[in-house]
Symmetry: C2
Subunit: 146 residues, 2 copies
Protein backbone atom coordinates (compact mmCIF):
# COMPACT_ATOMS: atom_id res chain seq x y z
CA UNK A 1 0.00 0.00 0.00
CA UNK A 2 1.01 3.61 -0.57
CA UNK A 3 3.13 2.73 -3.55
CA UNK A 4 5.78 5.18 -4.66
CA UNK A 5 5.40 6.70 -8.13
CA UNK A 6 6.95 4.83 -11.05
CA UNK A 7 8.50 8.10 -12.20
CA UNK A 8 10.66 8.06 -9.10
CA UNK A 9 11.45 4.39 -8.78
CA UNK A 10 12.73 4.30 -12.35
CA UNK A 11 15.28 7.09 -11.86
CA UNK A 12 18.84 6.11 -10.93
CA UNK A 13 19.18 9.39 -9.05
CA UNK A 14 16.20 8.39 -6.91
CA UNK A 15 17.63 4.97 -6.14
CA UNK A 16 20.97 6.46 -5.19
CA UNK A 17 19.71 9.35 -3.09
CA UNK A 18 17.09 7.23 -1.31
CA UNK A 19 19.59 4.51 -0.60
CA UNK A 20 21.94 7.20 0.67
CA UNK A 21 19.25 8.15 3.19
CA UNK A 22 19.20 4.64 4.57
CA UNK A 23 22.98 4.41 4.51
CA UNK A 24 23.28 7.67 6.41
CA UNK A 25 20.71 6.56 8.95
CA UNK A 26 22.48 3.28 9.60
CA UNK A 27 25.86 4.97 9.87
CA UNK A 28 24.66 7.85 11.99
CA UNK A 29 22.84 5.59 14.41
CA UNK A 30 26.18 3.98 15.10
CA UNK A 31 28.12 7.23 15.20
CA UNK A 32 25.78 9.03 17.58
CA UNK A 33 26.18 6.10 19.94
CA UNK A 34 29.86 7.10 19.94
CA UNK A 35 29.00 10.79 20.28
CA UNK A 36 30.31 11.55 16.81
CA UNK A 37 29.22 12.29 13.28
CA UNK A 38 30.38 11.71 9.73
CA UNK A 39 32.82 14.59 9.46
CA UNK A 40 34.66 13.37 12.53
CA UNK A 41 35.29 9.97 11.04
CA UNK A 42 36.50 11.42 7.77
CA UNK A 43 39.01 13.63 9.53
CA UNK A 44 40.29 10.96 11.90
CA UNK A 45 40.68 8.54 9.00
CA UNK A 46 42.62 11.05 6.92
CA UNK A 47 44.92 11.91 9.82
CA UNK A 48 45.61 8.26 10.52
CA UNK A 49 46.34 7.42 6.92
CA UNK A 50 48.38 10.44 5.88
CA UNK A 51 49.65 11.87 9.16
CA UNK A 52 49.42 15.42 10.51
CA UNK A 53 48.38 18.10 8.04
CA UNK A 54 46.83 21.51 7.68
CA UNK A 55 43.10 22.00 7.86
CA UNK A 56 42.83 23.04 4.24
CA UNK A 57 44.52 19.87 3.03
CA UNK A 58 42.36 17.82 5.37
CA UNK A 59 39.29 19.33 3.80
CA UNK A 60 40.45 18.56 0.28
CA UNK A 61 41.12 14.97 1.19
CA UNK A 62 37.81 14.41 2.94
CA UNK A 63 35.61 16.40 0.57
CA UNK A 64 34.73 18.81 3.36
CA UNK A 65 34.63 22.58 3.00
CA UNK A 66 37.41 24.31 4.91
CA UNK A 67 34.90 26.35 6.89
CA UNK A 68 33.26 23.13 8.06
CA UNK A 69 36.63 21.67 8.96
CA UNK A 70 37.05 24.44 11.53
CA UNK A 71 33.98 23.40 13.48
CA UNK A 72 34.71 19.68 13.23
CA UNK A 73 38.31 20.10 14.38
CA UNK A 74 37.05 22.26 17.24
CA UNK A 75 34.83 19.42 18.37
CA UNK A 76 37.52 16.79 17.91
CA UNK A 77 40.08 18.89 19.76
CA UNK A 78 37.68 19.49 22.63
CA UNK A 79 37.13 15.75 22.92
CA UNK A 80 40.90 15.21 22.91
CA UNK A 81 40.90 13.16 19.73
CA UNK A 82 43.01 15.63 17.86
CA UNK A 83 45.66 18.21 18.59
CA UNK A 84 45.67 21.57 16.82
CA UNK A 85 48.82 23.67 16.94
CA UNK A 86 50.21 26.41 14.72
CA UNK A 87 52.57 25.01 12.12
CA UNK A 88 56.09 25.99 13.28
CA UNK A 89 57.34 26.54 9.74
CA UNK A 90 54.33 28.43 8.51
CA UNK A 91 52.77 31.26 10.45
CA UNK A 92 49.25 30.89 9.15
CA UNK A 93 48.81 27.16 8.84
CA UNK A 94 47.62 24.88 11.60
CA UNK A 95 49.02 21.44 12.17
CA UNK A 96 46.35 18.91 13.13
CA UNK A 97 47.56 15.69 14.74
CA UNK A 98 45.81 12.49 15.74
CA UNK A 99 46.14 11.71 19.44
CA UNK A 100 46.19 8.22 20.98
CA UNK A 101 42.65 8.80 22.18
CA UNK A 102 41.71 9.82 18.65
CA UNK A 103 43.15 6.61 17.26
CA UNK A 104 41.12 4.68 19.79
CA UNK A 105 37.98 6.51 18.77
CA UNK A 106 38.76 5.85 15.12
CA UNK A 107 39.03 2.12 15.75
CA UNK A 108 35.80 2.21 17.70
CA UNK A 109 34.01 3.96 14.87
CA UNK A 110 35.50 1.44 12.47
CA UNK A 111 33.74 -1.44 14.11
CA UNK A 112 30.48 0.48 14.25
CA UNK A 113 30.87 1.36 10.60
CA UNK A 114 31.53 -2.21 9.56
CA UNK A 115 28.29 -3.30 11.17
CA UNK A 116 26.46 -0.60 9.24
CA UNK A 117 28.01 -1.74 5.95
CA UNK A 118 26.81 -5.22 6.58
CA UNK A 119 23.31 -4.13 7.44
CA UNK A 120 23.24 -1.92 4.37
CA UNK A 121 24.16 -4.62 1.86
CA UNK A 122 22.62 -7.57 3.67
CA UNK A 123 20.31 -8.59 0.81
CA UNK A 124 23.23 -9.01 -1.61
CA UNK A 125 25.56 -11.97 -2.07
CA UNK A 126 29.30 -11.47 -1.84
CA UNK A 127 29.51 -11.45 -5.61
CA UNK A 128 26.74 -8.93 -6.00
CA UNK A 129 28.36 -6.69 -3.41
CA UNK A 130 31.57 -6.77 -5.40
CA UNK A 131 29.89 -5.78 -8.65
CA UNK A 132 27.89 -3.05 -6.94
CA UNK A 133 31.02 -1.62 -5.33
CA UNK A 134 32.85 -1.81 -8.61
CA UNK A 135 30.13 -0.01 -10.54
CA UNK A 136 29.68 2.67 -7.89
CA UNK A 137 33.44 3.24 -7.78
CA UNK A 138 33.56 3.74 -11.53
CA UNK A 139 30.70 6.20 -11.57
CA UNK A 140 32.03 8.10 -8.57
CA UNK A 141 35.53 8.33 -10.05
CA UNK A 142 34.02 9.91 -13.13
CA UNK A 143 32.46 12.70 -11.07
CA UNK A 144 35.42 13.37 -8.78
CA UNK A 145 37.51 16.33 -9.94
CA UNK A 146 40.71 14.33 -9.37
Amino acid sequence: MDETPQRLVAKPSWLITQLAVHARRLVNDGFTAAGARGYHYRILAALHEFGPTSQARLGRRCRVDRSDIVAAVNELAEAGFVDRAPDPEHGRRNRVTLTPNGLHQLRHMDTLLDQAQDALLSPLSTNDRQTLIHLLTRVLAHHEPQ
Copy 2:
Protein backbone atom coordinates in the same frame (compact mmCIF):
# COMPACT_ATOMS: atom_id res chain seq x y z
CA MET B 1 47.04 14.71 -5.38
CA ASP B 2 45.09 15.03 -2.13
CA GLU B 3 44.01 11.44 -2.21
CA THR B 4 41.00 10.41 -0.17
CA PRO B 5 41.59 7.91 2.65
CA GLN B 6 41.32 4.23 1.80
CA ARG B 7 39.11 3.77 4.84
CA LEU B 8 36.48 5.88 3.12
CA VAL B 9 36.83 4.72 -0.46
CA ALA B 10 36.40 1.11 0.61
CA LYS B 11 33.07 1.66 2.35
CA PRO B 12 29.89 1.09 0.36
CA SER B 13 28.16 3.73 2.46
CA TRP B 14 30.80 6.23 1.35
CA LEU B 15 30.37 5.37 -2.31
CA ILE B 16 26.62 5.67 -2.06
CA THR B 17 26.44 8.89 -0.05
CA GLN B 18 29.15 10.60 -2.10
CA LEU B 19 27.54 9.57 -5.34
CA ALA B 20 24.27 10.86 -3.93
CA VAL B 21 25.94 14.25 -3.51
CA HIS B 22 26.78 14.36 -7.20
CA ALA B 23 23.36 13.05 -8.16
CA ARG B 24 21.65 15.71 -6.08
CA ARG B 25 23.84 18.42 -7.55
CA LEU B 26 23.08 17.37 -11.10
CA VAL B 27 19.37 17.11 -10.42
CA ASN B 28 19.13 20.32 -8.45
CA ASP B 29 21.01 22.31 -11.07
CA GLY B 30 18.26 21.35 -13.46
CA PHE B 31 15.44 21.92 -11.01
CA THR B 32 16.54 25.36 -9.86
CA ALA B 33 16.55 26.36 -13.53
CA ALA B 34 12.83 25.54 -13.38
CA GLY B 35 12.41 27.32 -10.04
CA ALA B 36 11.71 24.07 -8.24
CA ARG B 37 13.26 21.50 -5.95
CA GLY B 38 13.12 17.79 -5.30
CA TYR B 39 10.05 17.71 -3.08
CA HIS B 40 8.04 19.47 -5.76
CA TYR B 41 8.81 16.84 -8.35
CA ARG B 42 7.95 14.01 -6.01
CA ILE B 43 4.57 15.52 -5.21
CA LEU B 44 3.67 16.36 -8.79
CA ALA B 45 4.68 12.86 -9.89
CA ALA B 46 2.56 11.21 -7.20
CA LEU B 47 -0.45 13.36 -8.05
CA HIS B 48 -0.15 12.58 -11.73
CA GLU B 49 0.22 8.86 -11.21
CA PHE B 50 -2.36 8.28 -8.48
CA GLY B 51 -4.70 11.26 -8.77
CA PRO B 52 -5.84 13.71 -6.06
CA THR B 53 -5.17 12.68 -2.46
CA SER B 54 -4.67 13.94 1.04
CA GLN B 55 -1.39 15.46 2.16
CA ALA B 56 -0.66 12.64 4.56
CA ARG B 57 -1.02 10.01 1.86
CA LEU B 58 1.09 12.11 -0.48
CA GLY B 59 3.82 12.15 2.10
CA ARG B 60 3.75 8.41 2.58
CA ARG B 61 3.99 7.83 -1.13
CA CYS B 62 6.86 10.27 -1.67
CA ARG B 63 8.81 9.49 1.50
CA VAL B 64 8.31 13.03 2.72
CA ASP B 65 7.34 13.95 6.28
CA ARG B 66 3.84 15.36 6.52
CA SER B 67 5.12 18.58 8.06
CA ASP B 68 7.36 19.10 5.04
CA ILE B 69 4.48 18.37 2.70
CA VAL B 70 2.71 21.44 4.08
CA ALA B 71 5.46 23.80 2.97
CA ALA B 72 5.96 22.13 -0.40
CA VAL B 73 2.22 22.15 -1.19
CA ASN B 74 2.12 25.80 -0.15
CA GLU B 75 4.79 26.59 -2.71
CA LEU B 76 3.19 24.48 -5.42
CA ALA B 77 -0.22 26.01 -4.77
CA GLU B 78 1.19 29.54 -4.89
CA ALA B 79 2.77 28.73 -8.25
CA GLY B 80 -0.57 27.37 -9.48
CA PHE B 81 0.75 23.86 -10.06
CA VAL B 82 -1.54 22.32 -7.51
CA ASP B 83 -4.95 22.99 -6.02
CA ARG B 84 -5.59 22.51 -2.31
CA ALA B 85 -9.17 22.30 -1.07
CA PRO B 86 -10.81 20.75 1.98
CA ASP B 87 -12.04 17.24 1.30
CA PRO B 88 -15.87 17.48 1.04
CA GLU B 89 -16.41 14.09 2.67
CA HIS B 90 -13.90 14.49 5.43
CA GLY B 91 -13.75 17.57 7.59
CA ARG B 92 -10.08 17.49 8.42
CA ARG B 93 -8.45 16.18 5.27
CA ASN B 94 -7.27 18.29 2.36
CA ARG B 95 -7.65 17.26 -1.23
CA VAL B 96 -4.63 18.13 -3.36
CA THR B 97 -5.12 18.13 -7.13
CA LEU B 98 -2.74 18.54 -10.04
CA THR B 99 -3.61 21.50 -12.27
CA PRO B 100 -2.93 21.71 -16.02
CA ASN B 101 -0.07 24.08 -15.28
CA GLY B 102 1.25 21.57 -12.78
CA LEU B 103 1.20 18.83 -15.39
CA HIS B 104 3.13 21.09 -17.73
CA GLN B 105 5.71 21.77 -15.04
CA LEU B 106 5.98 18.05 -14.35
CA ARG B 107 6.72 17.32 -17.99
CA HIS B 108 9.28 20.09 -18.03
CA MET B 109 11.02 18.71 -14.98
CA ASP B 110 10.93 15.27 -16.58
CA THR B 111 13.11 16.36 -19.46
CA LEU B 112 15.51 18.13 -17.12
CA LEU B 113 15.67 15.04 -14.96
CA ASP B 114 16.38 12.75 -17.88
CA GLN B 115 19.38 14.82 -18.82
CA ALA B 116 20.66 14.57 -15.26
CA GLN B 117 20.28 10.77 -15.28
CA ASP B 118 22.33 10.58 -18.41
CA ALA B 119 25.06 12.79 -17.05
CA LEU B 120 25.09 10.79 -13.83
CA LEU B 121 25.60 7.38 -15.42
CA SER B 122 27.57 8.52 -18.44
CA PRO B 123 30.63 6.36 -17.74
CA LEU B 124 28.56 3.16 -17.79
CA SER B 125 27.42 1.06 -20.74
CA THR B 126 23.74 0.28 -21.16
CA ASN B 127 24.34 -3.16 -19.71
CA ASP B 128 26.21 -1.84 -16.69
CA ARG B 129 23.47 0.70 -16.06
CA GLN B 130 20.93 -2.11 -16.00
CA THR B 131 22.94 -4.12 -13.51
CA LEU B 132 23.52 -1.12 -11.30
CA ILE B 133 19.83 -0.19 -11.33
CA HIS B 134 18.88 -3.76 -10.58
CA LEU B 135 21.26 -4.05 -7.63
CA LEU B 136 20.27 -0.68 -6.20
CA THR B 137 16.60 -1.56 -6.52
CA ARG B 138 17.11 -4.80 -4.63
CA VAL B 139 19.00 -3.13 -1.79
CA LEU B 140 16.56 -0.26 -1.57
CA ALA B 141 13.56 -2.59 -1.51
CA HIS B 142 15.09 -4.38 1.44
CA HIS B 143 15.24 -1.14 3.43
CA GLU B 144 11.82 0.20 2.51
CA PRO B 145 9.23 -0.52 5.20
CA GLN B 146 6.79 -1.69 2.48
